[in-house]
């Protein structure tokens, strides 16, 4: 699990460190941000002291209306020993009592020139991405016609070779062999390459090749949402493979169910073309065109006609204009 420290916020955003610089290495444990409004009135019973605190115009104008003794009291109680930081938005004036309390307790006091809502959304996005559930999968991730396709399968089945042919056909490589996946939101899986092996592809017999220098900047991307999994496996005579495409198999990665297709590998089968078509067909299905279902409906209608034809004894050979 990655550690997020207040220093990371300073590095990432246009924030000014006003006080409490001893505490910039404090760790942030959650992505939620607290706006201590009710706490300003002196009610600290449910004060989420381990979260990042945000003071906007409302909180601060109330604060400035308080008596001097109350201001000192609130400032001291806001700055606990585990509070990772207090952010003041809109570039507002910083109360002296708060500066003192932050310096004493070592709670970093930061100021942003932007509006509160914007600061909240940017901080939340940053923190959520950092705290997102994470896993690594053995496979190859390729962007095919805008669909993120994760190709999995036993070692040596031909994942990298297939990826190479896909790149040659103009698709883009995201990661080879090891794909780092993080879950964003509740239903998005984002795959990236480990930094060390970005743009590289290992082809047995050739060794490591650099796809970007070989095929150009258009042949790679740094991250991609995973929409489809294609599992390659050696052709097994006894196993039954999907012949119709009516059922949709899924595989769970972290908390997300991803549609999965199992492709049997056999010499003479052009996998790159099949995977390309699988990606296109997947896109078509999402647009509402499902060849398998349409065919199935056609068949149902035909069988029904056939049945009524039999019952009413209509000669079906007669052409009807």
């Amino acid at each position: 699990m990655v550690k997020v420290r207040t220093q990371d916020l300073l590095d990432q955003f246009k924030l000014e460190l006003i006080a409490g610089k001893d505490g910039v290495h404090r760790e942030i444990f959650m992505s939620e941000i607290s706006r201590p409004g009710i706490e300003m009135t002196g009610y600290f019973k449910y004060y989420p002291k381990d979260r990042l605190q945000l003071l906007g115009k409302t909180e601060l104008s109330y604060y400035f209306d308080l008596e001097s003794s109350e201001r000192t009291d609130r400032a001291l109680r806001l700055c606990t020993d585990i509070t990772p930081g207090i952010v003041i938005t809109r570039g507002l004036e910083v109360p002296e009592e708060l500066v003192n309390a932050c310096n004493e307790s070592g709670v970093p006091l930061l100021r942003s020139p932007f509006k509160t809502t914007r600061v909240i959304s940017r901080l939340t996005n940053f923190l959520e991405a950092k705290f997102a559930p994470f896993t690594a999968v053995h496979g190859v991730l390729v962007d095919i016609y805008g669909i993120g396709v994760l190709i999995t399968g036993q070692s040596g089945v031909g994942k990298s070779e297939t990826a190479l042919e896909l790149v040659k056909r103009g698709h883009r490589l995201v990661a080879d062999d090891s794909v780092e996946i993080r879950q964003e939101d509740y239903d998005r899986l984002i795959g990236t390459s480990p930094p060390l092996i970005e743009h590289l592809l290992e082809i047995r017999g050739l060794g490591i090749i650099n796809v970007m220098t070989l095929f150009g900047a258009g042949s790679v991307r740094s991250y991609k949402k995973i929409s489809l999994i294609i599992n390659l496996e050696s052709w097994d005579q006894k196993r039954e493979y999907d012949r119709l495409g009516l059922e949709e198999e899924t595989l769970k990665i972290i908390d997300v169910d991803v549609p999965k297709i199992t492709l049997p590998v056999r010499p003479g089968r052009n996998l790159a073309v099949i995977i390309e078509v699988a990606a296109m067909n997947f896109r078509l299905k999402r647009m509402g065109v499902n060849a398998a279902e349409e065919f199935s409906e056609r068949l149902t209608t035909m069988i029904k006609q056939e049945k009524t034809g039999l019952e009413t004894k209509v000669d079906l050979d007669i052409d009807i204009d």
């Binding site: 690594a136 053995h138 040596g156 062999d177 090891s178 480990p194 060390l196 092996i197």
Partner: protein, 87 residues
């Protein structure tokens, strides 16, 4: 499933060449072999996966093996590690 911990003592860590030896060894067995380091797990049969971890000297790694020939596999891999990389 079998697992064993190792400490890398080789000066360069798991660099490209020793990684290749390890991956080739793992590839000789039927079992699923994984290398765990720093909270990440990679397939030991995949060279890029192993190298992507950038395992340095002094690192503690765990090898897990699962499958029909897990005992021989772990033994073989352990031998390779001891010869090339660490203990």
């Amino acid at each position: 499933m079998k697992e064993q911990k190792f400490t890398i003592t080789d000066e360069t860590g798991i660099h490209a060449r020793p990684a290749t030896l390890l991956v080739n060894k793992a590839g000789q067995y039927e079992s699923q072999v994984e290398l765990h380091y720093n909270g990440k797990a990679v397939n030991l049969k995949s060279i890029m996966g192993v190298m992507s971890l950038g395992v340095p000297k002094g690192a503690e790694i765990t090898i897990t093996v699962e499958g029909t020939d897990e005992e021989q596999a772990l033994e073989g891999i352990a031998d390779t590690i001891r010869e090339q990389l660490g203990e």
